[in-house]
Every structure is written in structure tokens, then in C-alpha cells.
Subunit: 342 residues, 4 copies
């Protein structure tokens, strides 16, 4: 006897990753899949790697019967998501993977996303989905907002340091190296293999990336004062993974202790021994996160490095972890897959 | 209550892949790991992606206690394997991943591997591990020899066609595109990223590749007459996967029917609709195989294309599937992971 | 004092490659660049790698002044090219890189490209641009048609063998591994880095690829009888290069001798010693071609392997080589760049 | 009439890159190539991409006749270089690509390289080879020390900012993304394609990378006080290129002006318009450098991004540029190749 879930927006990468993860989840069955432009198609046509699975055919959302669903994952594009979720039954549990419900403040939403929110009441209701820090609110929540993948990576590095008061809040630099799947299945010239392989470049530099909205919200709340980090993501020629290299001012040993203390019991967050730094190659395809700390020859400086898979822990794996909590299932169920290497 | 397995040679890619797969296998526990040059180390030091798992420390084989093991996987290099297995208790179940027990004929072994076999009695005892075709012999076997990864790919394309008598036996060309993990974790100049990425080249061309020994043995036995195929592998800049493009003479519809008939009930072998050809991207990280057939504008010609993951179905996944059979477990247990994409 | 050339369709990869090559050509100056959708932009905006060069701004074709051009390169899409070239002054020298003038027979054109040719008189006038075999016709020609990149690779392997009568004409199999730049700068899902890296798949299989029109035309003319090859291209995760693995029936020594004899004096075609096979990594970025021959354990079988850069010798390098001939310049001028490795 | 040069250590990547560049240099001829372990071999055997070139066979250094050489490039490993150069005739011009003569202070050398220098007199004689800043000393020099590739990238970003006094000298963070060819042709597990592709990781973090010796020396000399930067390189899955993301405190407009002013007349250094940041894809295979500046939403913060090819401008191209100066040739001769894209 399994619980029933539907995935709205199953024709993108995060939707497909949800399907992959749920395929080995013993407590969940996928009973509905939507994909507007690809409605009527089998998932195996949209994603040939899903050929071996038995899955419902893609439908338009309006044609879906969600009455028997115990929970809905919403992997739709930003802006679309808020409209669709607003139209769902108000007692249906929802895990949203878009950016629509990450920011609690309507003004902040408008600032970063360029227009007023269409469902401000839901915005208030939504719980921020960074599992390890919002578990108690996620468990009883009806609507949980998945975090940005960069926002997850950066917060795993920095939150315990703010809480422990071990770093200078005015000098936090996050330099991220991002796998290309984070950009989604979108047809853009710079995402073509011929353009992207063989090099790297920064994007959304200078404090313009939307995930800064989440950093501002979360770090400031935690610190009890405004915190504004410097954040530069770089598009790199690999498909999965974010490496966040975080430059902070503070005592390296205290920083390592704060992280090790905060994550000691976490099933997916692994703090490496002092001085050892992680690689994205060690987490691909899994919900695991590796975190390392290095001191520096310059006293009072430290580098915290976080590696996670943007599609798993940075998105669909987090969503499933939250869904487990919301449905009363074991939190790690369906998420214990080891990383894939090489 | 789980069964206990040990992995000899756990510091190579096939050993690590076994660890990855067994990590989510509900019926098996890893109780011993060997790695001669890395004895004393934790697996997480040898393979940082295994950091999240709780695993025994690497030992020298002579220091291992195998008395409680229900089965041993032997992922040692060719030639070493036969010596190690010969020294194991004769009632211990063994799945060997090396080339040492693939060829039944001592003369064929000596021809392809350049020296006499050190354990000819075991060579006789060993069962050839191409699961779908040797299931009944594998189930009661004590020693099962994993097939070559190329040999698996080629046989999935060709065996049903020989059995069904639908192709010209004297005109079989296998052109393979091989991911680099098939070459193992060996320090060779041509396997460096700087050398290998960005291009492709053939290797072991002209009928010199050792997996031809398996093709000769199996195809000839099946046909009841000598069959010698043309086989050229190519090293390609991806980590996992073999794409076998097989050029044959015969009626495409009969060929497709032979494959669909042979594999209709197989859990891991998926024959695509006529004319649809697979990609290695659709099977990476999984035990699944996709098989397609295309006719040609030239009548009487067909192309059969097989995609499998050399580390999973071509090696460690096959080994686990065989171990399941030998241990009386469900054949697909621990092997239902969906492929990873992108 | 240099000659003046213009490039129509400079916003695609073959156009950009022409710019790159001409940048170090001592006898040519680029005086015009067209790019319809990007008219008004600097080349550095369209292709940031061209930032260091001083180049004319992109224009619409109708705004260009071609009266002072000594030669025009036409790197426009298929079908567009024939219309644009038909509208050019009839005494303007043109090297066309599209497929529009490769097939001499209007019926063949219609069969492979799905509609009647719009400029059948020009089709008759055009000379097929496989330099080494059409030099004498190219030198005085006004309109030269660049060959398909696959067609070039396959012909370098097979033409001398047909001419020398050393292979079975009814059993020629061309298995090609193709870099992704051959697909152009087009926004297609399967060309995204996330989709394409990490694997390979065949495409246009079964005798449907349009370059077969060229193989048919050229091989049949050479043989004096119809020749129809089997041809399967595979999209591979590298940007530049085609590796053509050609399976033929014939005596390997005679085959090697035919190739070495045919290409002994060619500046760009390098036949390797018997048994040595090339890699695409050895030709990237250059106009050079490497060709190898291997015998097989099966008597009377041989494999010919050709490696060339689809953007250079397979397209823009060939175009420049032909332009040199048409303009009375040294044939290799501007084309002696060594390959780039790693 | 060309000048004659020899390359010692031609079997590594920087040696091969020198050969590639000199191949189209109109004023230089390669008359000697050494490669100790590969002495007696043709370069085409060691680097098949050099097959089209006519080159001397590899020799042992002791077998070379350097009497007619006008200049020697020394691309030997660190530590070996100082011994070999000490044994060369003292009037022979030498461009060294190793780390042996980059640090002027013997104590600094010993600190970073772990043992005393074997040729301290030559250390004193050597001129630091960052062309744009040492041109006047390089021109008459006999021995020029090529800079570290990371050191070049970082200095192009920071030197003009120190000179102009527009940044905080105590808060300079250099986060580098490095192509794998910078690690050389060395047989290390983490450089294998299977290990390295598909991800990224930091290395030599925490102020331990040897190129910090150069940063310390150069920045402190320029500032007239000690300057110690934070520097973390990351190994990335591409072959050529370094992207240096440099976080500084200062006015973005002043920073941009300082860079634009410093490099306005430089043939190879291109400062992009304010806010535009470069990609390593735009410089691969060339001696060109692209430099961009971005301000930040946090006032008084700026990011300077430098992209260069570690094998060309970061090493062999720089060496050739310096050799041109030392030989009285035009500085850019043989170095005007456009980047290769895609």
C-alpha cells in the first residue's frame, strides 16, 4: 500500500529527476504526470532514459484527476507555478520546486522577480524548504517551497557560521561553479554543447542573481540584521553539481566546529575532516552533500567548500525529502542512492 | 537478516560500482573489502564518493576472514584473479569479474591471453555469466565468470539472430563506441582527460581485441559452426556506456522480431520499436539495456544498435544479477535503479 | 595588396571558422560580412572569441556592396543559398558551403532535399569542391560547391580504392563518429550540453542521411556503375572532428598502397603507416586529414579510418583551399595552421 | 633566412605548444628537440597531432648540438631546469618555462620549492617574463623566466589596480578555474578522464599553491609593502584556459579605468566594456587575454575576471613573445592566431 503522488511539469529536468528518485521509493506511486506542450506523450518519448519504467502518460493539468493524490510536486516554471497552485484544492499537499514561494516578503518577491505576486496569501502560507533548518515547520505544512539550488549550497556553508557567530557578516563571498542542468532544458545558444563544453564563464554577476533574494532573507533573519553577500555563479561544462567556494573571515577551527556540530546527525550532510575539500564528482546523482573547511596562510581567513547535486539535493531530492516529512514517511526513504562515479 | 558478501579488488571501478549497487540492495551486506596496494585505507579515501556509506576498511586478501561470507565478488585484474580464486575455499561461491574464466577452452585462453591458464580445473567448472542466456546454469553454479563488457553488448545484439537463423553468419560487423571507464583506473597517457576528451579513436582493431575470444566461443557454439565477426572498439570521451552498432545482412523485420521475441520478458533488456535506435545517455548508471533495429535503403541490410552501461550491465550489475541467482534472491534485487540523466 | 572577400552567413559556425582562418591569411582581407538576424551587430558580440580581430560589422545581404569583392563565401543555410547565389552578379566568384550545389542531377537534388532546385542552371555550372579530386575544374570555376563534411571524410577513404579496383563495391560500410559542431548553431534539445555530453547515439540511420546523395553521385561516377554504401553517423560529445571507420572487402596491403599512392603528394592528406589508425584529436582546428588502414584476422577484410575536422577540412578550410585555387593564390595559403592539442 | 631555436623538454604539453606556435612563425626554425625518455622518437609518435610537420627527431640533451641555436626554450620540469640551464653556454639565450627562475629571492625559492636553488647566480640574472610589465628588461636579457600560468592570470587582473592605488591591498581574493592541461602530461589518478570530467574541485587551497610566491614577490614590489592574496585554484573539466575571478574592494569605475588605461595599446590584452565578463571559450588556442570588470550591488566591491589560455599566453605563447623580443623580431610574430571556437 503506497501513497499516491502527481508531478506537474514532468517534462523538465527536475520533473524527470523526481521520477527517477520515486522509481525506487517503496512508499510512493506516481499516479499523474503533466506536461503541457507534451501532453499525450509517453515519458519515454520525452526522456528515453525512462523507457524501463511504467508511468502514466503526460496530460494537461486541467485533464488530471488529482482527487486521489496524497501530494503534488509542482516542477513548473517560475510565475506559472503560483497560478497553478492557486487553482489547486486548498487541502492538497504541495511541494513546489519553482522560485514562486521562496520569498516571504511580497516586496522582495517583486524586487527580484519583476512583478507582483499573484497569490500573496499562499506566499504567506508557504514554508521554506531547506529541510535541515525547517524540519519542524515542513512536517505539518501544506505548501513547501523548494529552495534555489545555489541558495541551498550557499546556506549549507554559511548558516551555522552565522548562528555560531564565528564569521564577519560583512565579508562573505560565494563563488559558485555550476553544472549546466541547473539552467534547465531550455533552448539557449550558450547552453549548446558546442558553446558550453570546453570552458567556463561567470553569469548574473554583480549582485543580480535572483537567488540573492533567498540569501538576503535567510541570512538576515538568522543574524537579526541585514546581511548581503557577494555571489558569482559560473557556468561549467558538467551536467550535475554545484561547488560553492565560500570565502569568509573567522577562525577556521571555530568554523569547522560550527559546521560539524550543526550537521553531526544529518543523514545527507557530511562535514569532511579539517583541511579536506570536496569535489562535485563525489555527490553526483545523490542527495548527499559534502562540506569542507580550509584555513589559510592569512590568519583569520577560511574557505568553506560545499558540493551538492543541483538536481537532487539542490532540487528534486530536497523536494522528496520534504514530501516524506509531510506524508509521515521516513525522511530518507527513496533517497539513499549512493552517488554515481565515475 | 541479510546475506554477507565480500569484494576482492574493491579499489578499481568495477569494485566501487559493486559497492554502489549493493548499498541499496536490501538482502546483502558487505562484510569485507580487499585492495592490496590500498590495504588499511577507508574506501572513502580511495573513492570519496563513498564517504556517506558505512563500509569495512580495505584489507589485504590474506588478512580477510571469508569464512562467514556467503559469496565473494572477485574484481581483480586478469591473471591475478585465477590465482586468488584457486586459493579460496572450494565451497565458497564466487562471481569473477575478470577475463580469467570466460573462455572454456584452455587453448583459446592461451591464444588470447598469451599464457597457459593457472587453474584449468576451475576454468572447466566456471559458468559463463551472460545472465539471460545462462540462467539455469548460473543458479546452481559455484563459480560464475562475468562476461567482457563489449562481449555482452555484442551478444545482446547478435545471439537471437543466430538462434533464429535470420542473418548471414559470415558478414557480421560490430563497431563499438566505448566509454572510458571500461579501461579501468589505470594510469595511461591516453586515458588522461587532456588526451581523451575532445575526440575519438579506434583501438585494438583488426581482430586483436581479447573479447573476440568470447564472441568466437559463444557465436560458434550457438551456430554449430565457426563464426568470426569483425569488431572494432573506439575510445570515446564519456565515462559510462557502450554503443554497439552492428551491421548485419538479413531481413530487418525478421531481425526485430527475433530480438523482441527473445527479450520480451526480460526485466533489463528493452527492444525499441522498429526504426528507433538507442543512446548510451539513456542507460547510464543502470542495469538496463536498450536495443534498436533499423533497416536500410539497401535491401537485405540491417543495423542493430545496443546501448548498455559497461560498469553496470556490462560488469558489476551483471555480477550482482548473477549473485542474486546463485544466492536464491530475486534476480532483480538491488538492480532496479533508474538510469541517471542528464 | 590583398584580395577582398565577403562572407555571407557569417553568424554560423562555418562562417566564423572562415573568419578565423582568413585572419592569418596573408593574401585576403574580409571586406563584408552578412548575418541577417544579427545585422548591425559586431562579430565580437555574436562570437566573443573574435573580439581581438578588426572586422566589418554584420549587414543584411541586400545592404552589402559586393562590387569590389574578388570572391564571396556563402555560408548560408541550405535552400537559402541557391536563392541568394542566383541573385548575385554572374561574374562574381562564389564558394558555397551549403548543400545546394553538391548534386549535379536535379532529380537527385529533389529526392534528397525534398523539393525542386530553384537555380538549376547554376546547379549545372557548379564544380564539386573536393579539392584533391577536382583541382583542375575548381581553378577556372566561378561557382564551387563545398562538399558535405561526412561526404568528404568518406570519399577520402573510398575514392582511391574504387579507382584502383581494390575493393568489393557492393560491401562498403561507413560508420562515422561526428563532433557536434557539424550540426551547426541550431537550438535543438538534443544539442544541449546536458543532453549531448556523456554519451553517443546514431542518427539519420538506414540510408536516410542526405550526404548519401553525394556518395552515390561520386562513387557511381567513379566506378562507372551504381554504388550504394551503408552509412551511419553518430553524434558524439566533442565539438570538432569526424572519424570515419570504413569497413571494406579487399586486400589490406593493396588498399594501403592505393591510398598512399593517391595522396603521396597532397599537402593535407597524410596516410599513416600500415596498421596505424588516426584519432580526431590529432587534426582538430586544422586542415589536415589523417588516414589509416588496418587488416583483419578475417582474410580479405580491411578497415580504413579517416580523421578530419568537420569545420576546417570538412567545410571552411576546404572552402578557403578552393578559393585560393580560384583566385590564383598558393593553394595552402592561410591553411598551414597546426592542429590544436590538447 | 630564419633564426634557429631548440626546445628542451619537447615531449610535454608546453613543449608541444611551442612547436605548434613556431610552425607558423615566419622568422624561426626549430633545429633541435630534446625529450629524455623519448629520445630517438619522432615527434609524431609522441604527439600524433604533429604528424603533418617536418621536425627534428627527439634527442637526449647531451647529444644536441646547440652551437648554432640563436635561442633555447627550456620546457623541462621544475628543478631539472636549473641544472640543465646552468650547464648551457653562458652566452646562449634562454627562455625558461619552468618555475626555477621566477623567484628572485633565494629564501623565497627555498620556502616555496622546498630546497635551496642550485644556480643562485642565474636566479639573479633571470628576468621575470610577464611581457607587458617587463618588456624593457626582457629585450636585452639572456635568461627570461616564464611566469606561472595562474600567476599571469592573477597579475593581469591586479597589477594595474595596485599601481593605480584603486583597491584595498589587504582584501584580494583570487578564485581560479583551471583547465587540466595546466597539470601537464603527468600520470595521476585525478587527471584521468574518468575521474576529472563531470565535476570540479579546489586544490592547493589555503595559501599553499606555489604560484603564491610569484604573487607575493610581484604585488609586494609593486605596492612597496607586503601584499598577500587569498588564492584558490579549481581543477575543471576542460583542457585549456584559466578563468580568474578576482574579488576586490574599490570603485568599479576606477578599476575599469585603470585596466583599460594600462592595456589600451597592448596587442594581446583586451579589456571588455564595463559589466561585460569574459569566457575561457573565447581565448582557447590563442595568445589573447580577455578582461572584464563588474561592479556589485554592495557598494565599493568589484569583480575582475581574466580569461587566458594557460598553454599559450600562460606559458608557451608568452615564451615565444619574449623570445621575439630577445631576438629583435616583431613582438607579435607567430602569435596572431585567432582563438579556436567552438
Amino acid at each position: 500500500m503506497t501513497l499516491s503522488v502527481a508531478i506537474l511539469g514532468a517534462s523538465g529536468y527536475t520533473g524527470a529527476e523526481l521520477v527517477r528518485l520515486i522509481a525506487t521509493h517503496p512508499g510512493l506511486t506516481i499516479t499523474g504526470l503533466s506536461g503541457d506542450r507534451k501532453a499525450g506523450m509517453e515519458m519515454a518519448e520525452v526522456f528515453p532514459f525512462l523507457t524501463p519504467l511504467t508511468l502514466p502518460r503526460l496530460q494537461k493539468i486541467e485533464d488530471m484527476n488529482l482527487s486521489s493524490a496524497d501530494l503534488v510536486f509542482c516542477a513548473l516554471p517560475h510565475a506559472t507555478s503560483q497560478e497553478v497552485i492557486a487553482a489547486l484544492p486548498r487541502d492538497l499537499k504541495v511541494v513546489d520546486l519553482s522560485a514562486d514561494f521562496r520569498l516571504r516578503d511580497p516586496a522582495a518577491y517583486e524586487k527580484w522577480y519583476g512583478k507582483p505576486h499573484a497569490a500573496p496569501d499562499l506566499q504567506k502560507e508557504a514554508v521554506y524548504g531547506l529541510t535541515e533548518f525547517y524540519r519542524d515547520q515542513i512536517r505539518p505544512a501544506r505548501l513547501v517551497a523548494g529552495t534555489g539550488c545555489n541558495a541551498a549550497a550557499g546556506q549549507y556553508a554559511i548558516r551555522p557560521l552565522i548562528s555560531a557567530g564565528v564569521i564577519d557578516l560583512d565579508d562573505i563571498i560565494l563563488d559558485l561553479k555550476n553544472g549546466v542542468s541547473g539552467a534547465g532544458r531550455s533552448l539557449k545558444e550558450n547552453l549548446l554543447h558546442a558553446e558550453l563544453s570546453g570552458g567556463t564563464h561567470p553569469y548574473s554577476a554583480g549582485g543580480t542573481h535572483r537567488h540573492l533574494g533567498e540569501f538576503d532573507q535567510e541570512f538576515s533573519a538568522l543574524a537579526g540584521r541585514p546581511v548581503r553577500v557577494i555571489f558569482t555563479p559560473h557556468l561549467c561544462p558538467f551536467n550535475r553539481g554545484i561547488l560553492a567556494t565560500c570565502y569568509v573571515k573567522g577562525d577556521p577551527a571555530a568554523i569547522h566546529a560550527a559546521l560539524a556540530g550543526a550537521y553531526g546527525d544529518e543523514p545527507f550532510l557530511h562535514v569532511l575532516p579539517m583541511g579536506k575539500l570536496p569535489s562535485t564528482r563525489s555527490i553526483a546523482g545523490s542527495n548527499h552533500v559534502q562540506i569542507g573547511v580550509s584555513g589559510d596562510r592569512v590568519p583569520g581567513r577560511a574557505t568553506v567548500v560545499v558540493a551538492l547535486d543541483n538536481l537532487t539535493k539542490g532540487s528534486s531530492g530536497q523536494a522528496l525529502q520534504n514530501a516524506n516529512l509531510m506524508l509521515g514517511l521516513p525522511e530518507t526513504q527513496g533517497l539513499t542512492l549512493a552517488p554515481v562515479f565515475p
